[in-house]
Symmetry: C2
Subunit: 280 residues, 2 copies
DNA sequence: CAGAGACGATACCCGTCCGGTATCGCCGCC
DNA sequence: GGCGGCGATACCGGACGGGTATCGTCTCTG
């Protein structure tokens, strides 16, 4: 099976329409039809059920869509990491983490690693929630800082770095800020202070009462304005009070920050960074 | 990057010899040379350093060898799992585990799962130590029973099933068998009873004094003959005494049996099997 | 020191296969 | 019943993969 065939099939399986898939691939429809037929013939498997009105996935097609995406990610990762490895003076490691979520842990880690004799240049990518896994999987990043249980570390090697409780972040002066600590139920049901809605991976937002937010800054501003409340790890709490206050939430699930990397990529540089992280 | 190019490069990178690699690939040497040049040109990266006497990997080449193997495994997995998904009546799940190492856990699991209403056929593969990961990675198997810390579950999702201590297995009548329990140091230094040597993944054996063994049966026979001793999980201990005796080893690392599967393959059947396993 | 041998690169040729255009067959819908 | 949308088929040209023959270079040897 060639990656070209995989790319073709995935386009068709996602569009469920040969014409649109061909357009997306920048080619004409007939060779695409033929390529899919050939793929089916070589596999000995029917991947798509076609009528002149609709195209649907067979069960085997659904399997190939799932597995094929993972395989293409792996091929892309090989491509990207190889290219990066060849550029002299380029960052030898790319670290990805959620924007504004690691507090002082990230600078500490970078400093500690940079102090090592064999340290190499480390690039940092800050991205939105949930994107880290994809970057790690398709080779745009080599290592990530993740927050369990929010992020999923499935398929990666990890080392635990820190476990912490969560705090409720509320507008300064809100009655609850006088309390020494809170419970989840105190915070999730506040009238007039709904929890914000974060975008899904595809950019759409779930339904609900809360305001839509894209990043930490927006969130803090909304809280300061008295339009929202949020629960976040202690270390993500803003330190200089910008009209917001933080109160520990006793029964919020603890958050573990882990350093994660693809299990097969045990380069010297990566090993050094992981070592530096675990010594923090 | 096409899988054909990856296969070619990996062959050359492993052989470090274009002629032998071409032979292994069943093709002539010149087109192979050209394909590698083209791959290097497209990547914009030198992968191999050639003289007329030797071929060596560049750093980027080493990266592509590692990453490319993983990528090819992922493509092969997509191929195999798609083929299997299409065959009606074929086993919908393939479980792999080390031959003779799971004791009664495996039949219990299969029975428990088979009793479920939506159970599908499960094939079982028994293989040598260390091979499970590869089968899981390249799609010949869907789920595995692994023994931490002996096997590595990196890159897979897992659920813990059981943790147990280890026992020393000794020839019946050996003085140590009278003791109620032992320490590692008691067993590893026994004069005339060396620990056996297991084959590596490539089939070669490490150097050392112990006899070479390939499976559990050989091992037990050698122990019964008074030629070896071994340390193994309690559940792997032979139950009908075949001239061997087992004594708990207090300070041996505990062994955890886990059920493991590729993180992206969350099929209904697999989920059912994992559920049955965790309920045991 | 010259010649043989090993090895990767180059030159050149042929067949296959990929991709394009034109068109067909089928089906739902005004 | 004709029109339009959609996937399949037919056919063609060009690119590319793979084969054989040969070269350039380096090393070892008689």
């Amino acid at each position: 099976m060639e990656t070209r065939e995989l790319r073709y099939f995935i386009a068709v399986a996602e569009e469920l329409h040969f014409g649109r898939a061909a357009e997306r691939l920048g080619m004409a429809q007939p060779p695409l039809s033929r390529a899919i037929q050939q793929l089916e013939r070589r596999l000995g498997v029917t991947l798509l059920e076609r009528t002149s009105r609709a195209v649907t996935l067979t069960e085997a097609g659904a399997v190939l869509l799932r597995e094929g995406r993972a395989a293409l990610d792996a091929v892309d990762a090989a491509d990207r990491r190889t290219r990066r490895a060849a550029v002299a003076g380029a960052p030898a490691l790319v670290l990805v983490t959620k924007a504004g979520a690691t507090g002082e842990l990230l600078p500490k880690l970078l400093d500690a690693y940079a102090a090592e004799p064999e340290a190499v240049a480390v690039d940092v990518i800050l991205c939105g929630p949930g994107e880290q896994e994809r970057l790690l999987r398709d080779g745009r990043a080599d290592v990530a800082l993740l927050h369990l249980p929010f992020d999923s570390a499935t398929g990666f090697d990890t080392e635990d770095l820190r476990t912490e409780g969560q705090v409720a972040v509320l507008p300064a002066g809100h009655p609850l800020t006088a309390r020494p600590h809170l419970r989840m139920s105190d915070v999730t049901t506040l009238p007039g202070l709904p929890m914000p809605r974060w975008p899904r991976l595809d950019g759409t937002y779930p339904d609900g009462p809360g305001p839509q937010v894209r990043d930490q800054t927006q969130l803090l501003q909304l809280i300061a304005l008295g339009r929202a409340a949020a629960i976040m790890p202690e270390s993500a709490r803003p330190h200089r009070g910008e009209d917001v206050a933080a109160v520990p939430v006793l029964d919020a699930p603890p958050v573990t920050t882990v350093i994660a990397w693809p299990p097969h990529s045990r380069s010297r540089a990566l090993a050094g960074l992981v070592r530096a992280a675990t010594r923090l």
